[in-house]
Structures are given as C-alpha cells and as structure tokens.
C-alpha cells in the first residue's frame, strides 16, 4: 500500500496526548485521595481542552492534517493517528462540552470517593479518551476498540442511580450496542480478508472497490446505526438518556452517540466513491427523515421533560443522517459540499444545545422536585437562569437565528434545494415545525406566571446554572459563523478512489 505512506507531522505528539492524558487521569483518579478526585478529573479535562485546541490550531494554521505513527510503524502494519479538519473541529467541540459538564457535575453526586462520583468521573474521562481516538483513529480495528471503550464507559453512567428502571435501560442499551459492535466487527473481518489492510487511507486508495468493501460497509453501517440510535434502532435511547443523571445524559446525548455516527461518516465519505453510494445513502436519509418526524412527534407527546429531551435527540440525530444523501449526491467533492458543513454544524449545535438542555432539565428537577411539564408554571420565577438556558438551547434546537441550529438548517436547506431534492426540504421544514411545537410545550408553562406560588424544593447552585448557560450560549454563538462551507472541514480529507 504505497499510497498510504504517512509520516508523523511536526507537533504530532499532541495526538498522543489526546489519548494518553485522559487515560492517565483515570489511573490517577483511583490512586489519589478521595478529596482530590474531582480536581484530578477537572485538570485532565482542562488539559484535554488545551490539547484539542492545540490540534485545531495546528491543523488550521498549516491547512494540513496532523498525523502520528504510533511506535513509528507505518500502516497497514502499524497504527496511525491522523487529525484532519473535521476531526480537529470535533475534538475541540467535545473537549469544550466536557469542561462545563464537569463544572456542573462537581459535587452533584455526593461525597467524593463514594460510588457515584468515582464512577462518573472515571467514565467521563474514558469517554473523553474514546472520543479522541474515534475522531483521529485511522485503523478500523483500533476504532472498534475505541467504540467498545465508549460503550463500556457509557453503560455504567446510565445505571448510575442504581434504580431498577435505569439498570434495565442500561442492559438494553448494552446488549443492543453489542449487537451493533458485532456487525461492525464482522465488516472489519470482511475488509481484512479482502484487502489485508484496515487503514483508512490505504482502503481509500483501492480503485473500483469490489463487492467485499461495499458489503462490509453496509453491515458496519447498520451496526453503527444501532449504536447511534438511528430510528427505528432507537429502542434503547429514550429510557437510557432519560434515566441517567443529568450530567451523564448531557454527555450521552451530546457526544457519545456522535462517536459511532462519526465512524459511519468516515466509512461513507472516505471509502465509498459517491456514485456507488446513491441507493444506500438514500436509504439512510429515509431512516433519518423518519427519525425527524416520528422522534419529534413522540417528543410532543411526552409528559416528562427528560423523556421529551431524549426523544428530541432521536429526532435531531435524524437530521445528521440526511447528510448522507445530501453530501454524497451533490456531485461536488463530498466534503467540500454544503451538506458536509451543514452536518458538522448540526452535530456541534446539537451537542451544545442538548447538553445544555439536559443540564437545565436536571436543575429544574432539583429546584421543584419533578420534571412534569404540565406543572412548570412559574418556573421562570424560581430558576430564571435555567429557563434562560432552556430558551437559548431551544432556539438552536428549533433552528431560529442566530444559532448553530439555524445555520445548520440553512445550509441543509441550501444543499437540498441546490440538488433539487424537495422531499428533504419538506422533512427539514416539518421537523422544524414539530421542534417548535415541543419546545413551545416546555417554555410556555415555564414563562407563564403561576396561579399560586410554586414550591421550591432546593435552591439552585448558580455555578451549575452558569455551566449549563455557557453551553447554550455557545450553541447560539455558532450561529454567527459564516453561512458557507468551511474550508477547515475539508482539510486533509481523502477522496475515495483517488490516487
């Protein structure tokens, strides 16, 4: 595979740091005194943010991907890390989400050193490492290990409360996700058997991919879709995301499901020549459209805030899958297409807005002791900052300007119109209307003055409100980026079938 010749780039060590820093954090967590646990986690996440920013800066200033050969071994024998534009952007996004989540979660789980805080911080750092590896991993099996690490870290978060419902949700999640992993691994076996390499760049250079690659990608995508909870493979998501503690739900909904989605994105955009992807990508788009409509309609029905937000995730993930037909059908280089940027923006805007939303939902629960939407009247008086957070996050979720959600919607509509694909326009528009509907159901009672003073169970901690608000504000600020494809997102992409 001479085409795959890579070299470690100057400054490539940061990629190693992206993996090693959170892992060292995990080891330290269990060795330091209980009182230091939260600080170790916070320090690791801050360091991770620094690393991610460094990667982003290197990629954007050199306009070239950062690569690293682990152990100095050249793929396909060895393993490489490689951060291209989109990987660098997503690493920075994830790292940025994680810090406010950590600030929010500090002290939320009882005394440090007890079961819940120890598990939470461990799993949070494990998710950090796994995501970083997923974003810059280049080897399909290496990605498999990262994917499993992600799942094993996510499942204990779901059942952190230890209640019967959450244990059951965690089990459903785990076993369904495992079924997805096995399908992915099956694809890995097929690919190695056919090409003797698992390296993405090496695989992309295969000319005229034959049946094996197509078959493998099909099977792997199905597995990844199960892990991403693409409708109708979402049976595990609402109970799991609604049952986990809010800080955990924030990470699960904002980041964890995006991990498997990202690998699917790599497979389709890096390995498949667009002309071979038409039928399959349309199929994914149809499932995504169903997710948008049915997920939103289900969100409209929910009586409890956390379930509503969880169903909103099902719907918002649906938009991500519209990237496949829109990005691969544009005729342009897929990752210079409008849809590619739209998808990336949607992923990021949803990450920030949804994390903020779940965190706000947790604060609401603490403030009034429940999350029944029908009894939200007067919430604005009790927790104004939290209601503000929900409002800002909602603006992005329903795609009003200025917000990341709006920019994503704008670009997605641009892509759909540009390809004359009116049916996707209808889906996007209908999804926006339904989203406005479910957001309306939360915000209206929250803004309506109460008939009698609403009982406050517990005062809300301003630090935690501020952490949630910060995320919502970022979701809004993304809306100020230009409404055009970002060159940054096209840096270092490898075109399938190209030499």
């Amino acid at each position: 595979m001479s085409a795959g010749l890579l070299a470690t780039s100057p400054g490539g060590d940061v990629l190693v740091a992206a993996i090693v820093v959170p892992v060292i954090g995990i080891l330290l967590l269990w060795l330091v005194r209980p009182r230091a646990v939260e600080w170790v986690a916070l320090a690791a996440l801050l360091a991770n943010l620094g690393v991610a920013v460094a990667v982003l800066r290197t990629v954007s200033s050199s306009a070239a991907p950062v690569a690293y050969l682990i152990g100095g071994w050249q793929p396909p024998l060895g393993l490489a890390l490689r951060a291209d534009g989109i990987a660098a952007v997503f690493m920075a996004m994830a790292a940025t989400v994680l810090v406010p989540v950590a600030i929010y979660a500090r002290g939320a789980f009882g005394a440090p050193g007890e079961r819940r805080p120890m598990v939470f911080w461990t799993m949070l750092l494990a998710i950090t490492a796994a995501l970083n590896l997923i974003f810059c991993g280049q080897d399909l099996f290496n990605l498999y290990v990262a994917l499993e690490l992600l799942t094993f870290a996510a499942v204990p978060l779901v059942s952190l409360d230890g209640s019967r419902e959450t244990l059951k949700a965690a089990l459903r999640y785990l076993v369904f996700a495992l079924a997805g992993s096995v399908l992915y691994l099956l694809g890995v076996a097929i690919i190695y058997g056919a090409y003797g390499t698992l390296d993405l760049i090496g695989l992309a250079s295969i000319r005229g991919p034959d049946g094996a690659l197509l078959l493998a990608i099909g099977v792997m995508t199905a597995g990844l879709a199960a892990k991403t909870a693409l409708f109708p493979l979402h049976l595990w998501l609402p109970p799991a995301h609604a049952g986990a503690p809010p800080a955990a739900s924030a990470v699960l909904s904002a980041l964890v499901v995006k991990g498997s989605f990202f690998i699917a994105l790599r497979l389709w955009f890096d390995l498949l020549p667009p002309e071979r992807a038409v039928a399959g990508s349309t199929l994914l788009g149809v499932f995504g459209a169903a997710a948008v409509i049915i997920g939103s309609a289900m969100a409209l029905r929910q009586a409890r805030l956390k379930l509503l937000v969880a169903y909103s995730t099902v719907a918002q993930l649906g938009y991500l899958f519209l990237v496949f037909p829109l990005g691969l059908g544009s005729g342009a280089a897929p990752f210079e297409s409008t849809a590619w940027t739209a998808g990336a923006l949607q992923l990021m805007a949803h990450a920030f807005a949804k994390a903020a939303m779940f965190m706000a939902a947790g604060l609401v629960y603490e403030a009034i002791g429940h999350d029944r939407i029908a009894e939200f009247r007067g919430l604005g008086r009790i927790a104004p900052l939290t209601v503000l957070t929900m409002t800002l996050a909602s603006i992005s979720l329903m795609g009003l300007p200025p917000s990341g959600g709006f920019s994503a919607k704008w670009l997605m509509l641009t892509a759909a119109f540009g390809e004359g694909a009116w049916w996707w326009v209808l889906v996007i528009a209908a999804g926006g209307l339904l989203a406005a509907g479910y957001v309306f159901r939360i915000l209206v009672p929250a803004f309506t003055p109460p008939e009698e003073p609403i009982a406050r169970v517990k005062p809300v901690v301003v630090r935690r409100e501020a952490a949630a608000l910060a995320l919502a504000v970022i979701a809004i600020l993304i809306g100020f980026l230009p409404l055009a494809p970002w060159p940054l997102l096209a840096i270092g992409r490898i075109a399938a079938g190209a030499p």
């Binding site: 199905a222 199960a226 109708p232 309609a297 200025p402 803004f447 100020f480």
Partner: protein, 543 residues
C-alpha cells in the same frame, strides 16, 4: 433625504434603533431594581427608531465578516420604521395607564421590548438572515403579548398564533434559502432581488416567501390567528401588534418582490389573493360582536388591499410600488393602532368625556375607508396609480365601500364600550396617547405625501373628492340597509378556525397512531429484525 446630508452618526442611529430596545431588555433582565422606573419609560425605547427614520435615511451598517449581518434604511423602510416607532411610543405611554403595577414585572417588560426590537429591526434589515431573525423575533415574542392576560382564551389564541407564526417562518426560511441560492449564496437583500429575474427557480422561491409573509399579513386562509389573538391581547399589546408588528409582512412585500421586472402571473395571483382577503375580511367582520374582533377583520381586509397593490405593481413592473405600499401601511399603523388605544380609553371611561374619544375615532375609522381630507384619503390616493383604471380600480373602490360598512359597524359597537363605573375617566396618559395617534394618522400623511411623489393640490381637486367620497356615501347607505337585517349571523372570531378545531380529535388519533408505531418498533425483536434488514438492505443497495 440626499446622501450628502447624511450625518456621520446616521449608521449609529440605525444600529441603536435595533440595539436600544435590546439593551433595555438586558437591563430589565439583569437589574430588577430598574423595573419600576422602566415601566414608565417604555415609551422611550422606540425613540432611536423614530430618530433613525427621520435622520438616517440612506444609512448602511454592515458588520465585519464573519458576522454577515447588516442594516440599511431606504425611503419605504423609513416610512414604516418611523410610523411603527411612533405607535410603539404611544402604546408605551398608554401601557402604564392600562396595566398599572403589572407593568413593573419582568414578563411584561421583556416581551414588550423583545417584540419591539424585532419590530424595529425588520424594517432596516439589509440581509435575509437579519430579516429572518427580526421577523421571527417580532412574531414569536408577540406570543408573549397575545397571552399576557394568561386566560384560557388567551392561551388558546396564543397556540393558534404560535402555530401560524412558525408555519409562516418555515415558508419564509425555505424561500430565503432558495433566493440566496439563486443569487449564488448571496444573503444581501439588494443583491438577491437584483439577481432575481435571472435566477432559476424564482417562482417557487417567491411563492414560498409570499406564503410566509401572508401568514404574517393575515391573508386568507392564513388569517386564522389574527382575530382571536387581537381579541385576547390586552389593548396596548393589540395596538402594537396590529399597528406595528403586522407591518413586518408589509416590509417583506416591499423588499422581496422584483418590482423592476414585470412579473405577470405571480403579481395577478397575489392581487387576487389580496382582493379576496379585502372583501372576506369585511364580510366576516360584519358578523363579529366585539369591536376588537371587528378591528382584526378590518386588518385582514386592509392587508389584503396592500397585498393587492403589491401584486398589481409587480405585474405591471411599477418601480414606485414599494413606496406606495409603505405609505399606505404608514397610515394603517396609526389608524389601526390608534383605534385599539381608543377602545382602551373608552372601556375605562364612564359617561363623561366620551364624545372627545368617539369623534376622533369616527374620523380615523372612516379614514381607513378613505374619507376625503383625512390621512386615509391620501393613502388611497397613493395607491391610485397602482390600481389603474380597469377592474382593479373598481375593486379598489368597492373595497372602500366595504370598509366604510365595516367601520360603521365598528363605531356602533365602540359607542357601547364603557366602564361599569359611570363616573370613571380614562387616565390622561391613555387619552393623550389616543389623541396623539389620531392626530398622527390625520396629519402625518399630509406632511409626507409630497415626499412620496404625491401632489397635495390634486388631493383637494373635485375629481379626487368625488372618487374618494362616493364609496363613503354608498357605504353609509349600505350600512343603513344592513341595520334593517335584524338576525344577522354571528360567527366566532377566527371563522373557519372553528371548523379546523373539529379536526383536533383526528390529530390526537394521529398522535396515538405514531405512539403505536413507536411501541411496535421499540420491541426488541422488531428492532433486531430491522437491524438485520438494514444491514442486508445497505449491503444490497450498494452491490
């Protein structure tokens, strides 16, 4: 105003028109101690907008990239911005008198200022994103004004309002994206409209935009929200919603139609829809029992006239169209907003001092129908050219007849409005706000008519007096006849809304159906089978 005279502060003024209400909003959010003071100072908030309208015509503000947001002010924009600012100002004076202590609370101030910010910005937006932002802001924040009373009826009206607002926005957004795409990704409105004639898919883009604007203007059948909302909204809120907020739709007609290029089919279709609304609004308005609802139907009718004029101008490629529309809209701002303030004053007034409220109301109301020598007469004259001399002119005159009937119906209902307390007198601020607005509706069109190319001499010519006068007389006669019809039907506000509401159980069934599908699909075996199916289908699809 020529550009040479443009003050260097003009762009700043323009930015302030939009930012000052937002700054006050931030202030009331952050500083509860300031709220009692702000309650009496709300009338100040639109003043930068007013000043911009007077002094900043021709100004441009463009923020540096990557923030591709921009502001600009032209003559039609200035007409609408200035009049809207004035009605906001008058309503801001009336609001403390109407709401009293309540106005010191955050929700009242926040919704008011947010709606105001959107209302000001929409007239000066230079690009589609800013326009959409302002349009959404004025629409969605308006929800808070509609439902301010918190009654069941208000919340119900609010739901309809919200549903149609977001539907309209969905149309508008799709249209904007298509427009921008046609202009090669350009988002500046001027560039988009310049590129329109040669743009592919111009017709669908404009249809989508017009549907979005129609929902705001209340063109039939997207008018459903307007009567219940104005009915439920407290008077000061109804004044700004009907006077200022609706004009977001008017500025849309001004901005996005390519008047320079005759566009027959679309223009005629728009005109037809407009005329239909103009007569439909009057017909249903006559069945209403509350003056607020009558005013709402009058708005539907008047916005129909504006849409008709826009359509005719578009069909004929008349470059003067936008200015005429804006001028007509300017009069409607004062007339409609003012009449809501009059109703507020009347409802707080017992037996004394009613005439001083009612007589101006009569003049302003008939001004809407074009009563000679009023500001309304000038508005009608401004659109005379657009209506031309054929069937459109006839329809225009007939709509004036219809408006006369409706306004007389309104006045009969308004005379009955009174406070239960026979000795009550409306607060002076409230009365002053109404009188001021009435004066503006009469006088300002006279002041501004020459600047939009009208000739004041022609307005008092016998020909003009005849053309404007006969519909009023005919309307009066018709109204007298109508009064003989004892058992006139009475329709609920929102007319066909009642029919649509009968579909609600069906909607519930649909929702239950979705839940049933969801229940089926989240079964383990079904989901597992789908997983296998997806794997096979994806693999198969690619082979």
């Amino acid at each position: 105003m020529p550009d040479a005279a443009l003050s260097p502060f003009a762009p700043l003024l323009l930015a302030l028109a939009s930012l000052f209400p937002l700054a006050l909003l931030a202030l009331t959010l952050a500083a509860p101690g300031f709220r009692p003071r702000l309650a009496t100072l709300l009338w100040l908030a639109p003043l930068p907008g007013l000043m911009a309208a007077v002094f900043a015509q021709g100004a441009i503000v463009s923020l540096p990239t990557p923030l591709a947001l921009g502001l600009m002010l032209d003559r039609p924009g200035a007409l609408l911005l200035g009049s809207a600012a004035l009605i906001w100002c008058a309503a801001g004076i009336a609001a403390p008198a109407w709401w009293g202590e309540k106005l010191r609370s955050l929700p009242y101030q926040a919704w008011w200022l947010a709606t105001l910010a959107g209302s000001m910005t929409v007239f000066i937006a230079a690009d589609v994103v800013t326009f959409y932002l302002a349009f959404s802001l004025v629409s969605l924040a308006g929800y808070g004004l509609v439902t301010r009373d918190g009654t069941v009826a208000a919340l119900k009206a609010g739901r309809v309002y919200f549903a149609l607002a977001v539907t309209g926005e969905a149309f508008l957004l799709s249209g904007f994206v298509l427009l921008a795409l046609g202009a090669g990704g350009e988002t500046r409105i001027a560039a988009i409209v310049a590129a329109l004639p040669s743009a592919p898919r111009m017709a669908p883009a404009l249809v989508l935009v017009l549907l979005g604007l129609a929902a705001k203007l209340g063109l039939v059948p997207l008018h459903l929200w307007m009567p219940p909302s104005y009915g439920a909204a407290p008077y000061p809120a109804a004044a700004v919603l009907s006077g200022a907020a609706v004009k977001a739709g008017v500025i849309g007609l001004v901005r996005f139609l390519p008047y320079a290029t005759p566009t027959e089919t679309l223009g005629i279709a728009l005109a037809a829809a407009g005329f239909f609304s103009a007569f439909f609004g009057v017909a249903i308005g006559l069945t209403q029992r509350h003056p607020k609802h009558v005013l709402a139907y009058s708005s539907i009718s008047q916005m129909g006239v504006i849409a008709a004029v826009a359509g005719l101008s578009l069909a004929a490629g008349r470059a003067a169209g936008p200015t005429e529309i804006a001028f007509y809209g300017l009069h409607h701002v004062f007339a409609k907003g003012g009449l809501f303030l009059a109703l507020a004053a009347l409802s707080m007034t017992g037996n004394r001092g009613r005439a001083a409220l009612l007589w101006p109301a009569a003049i302003v109301a008939l001004g809407i129908a074009g009563l000679p020598l009023t500001g309304g007469a000038l508005a009608k004259l401004a659109i005379k050219d657009a209506l031309g001399s054929g069937w459109a002119k006839t329809l225009g005159s007939l709509s004036a007849v219809a408006s006369t009937v409706l306004m007389l119906h309104f006045l009969t209902l308004a005379t009955v409005m009174r406070s239960r307390d026979a000795s009550a007198v409306a607060p002076v601020a409230l009365r002053a706000a109404w009188w001021g607005t009435a004066l503006a509706s009469l006088a300002l069109p006279w002041l501004l008519f020459p600047s939009v190319g009208g000739s004041l001499a022609a307005t008092v010519a016998p020909q003009a007096l005849y053309e404007l006068g006969w519909p009023i007389l005919a309307g009066g006669a018709l109204f007298a006849l109508l009064r003989l019809w004892r058992n006139r039907p009475s329709l609920p506000p929102g007319d066909i809304l009642a029919i649509i509401r009968t579909g609600e159980p069906w909607l519930a069934r649909l929702s239950n159906g979705v839940a049933a599908i969801e229940g089926f699909l989240t079964d383990w075996t079904v989901a597992g089978a789908v997983l296998l199916l997806l794997a096979l289908a994806l693999a198969g699809a690619m082979l």
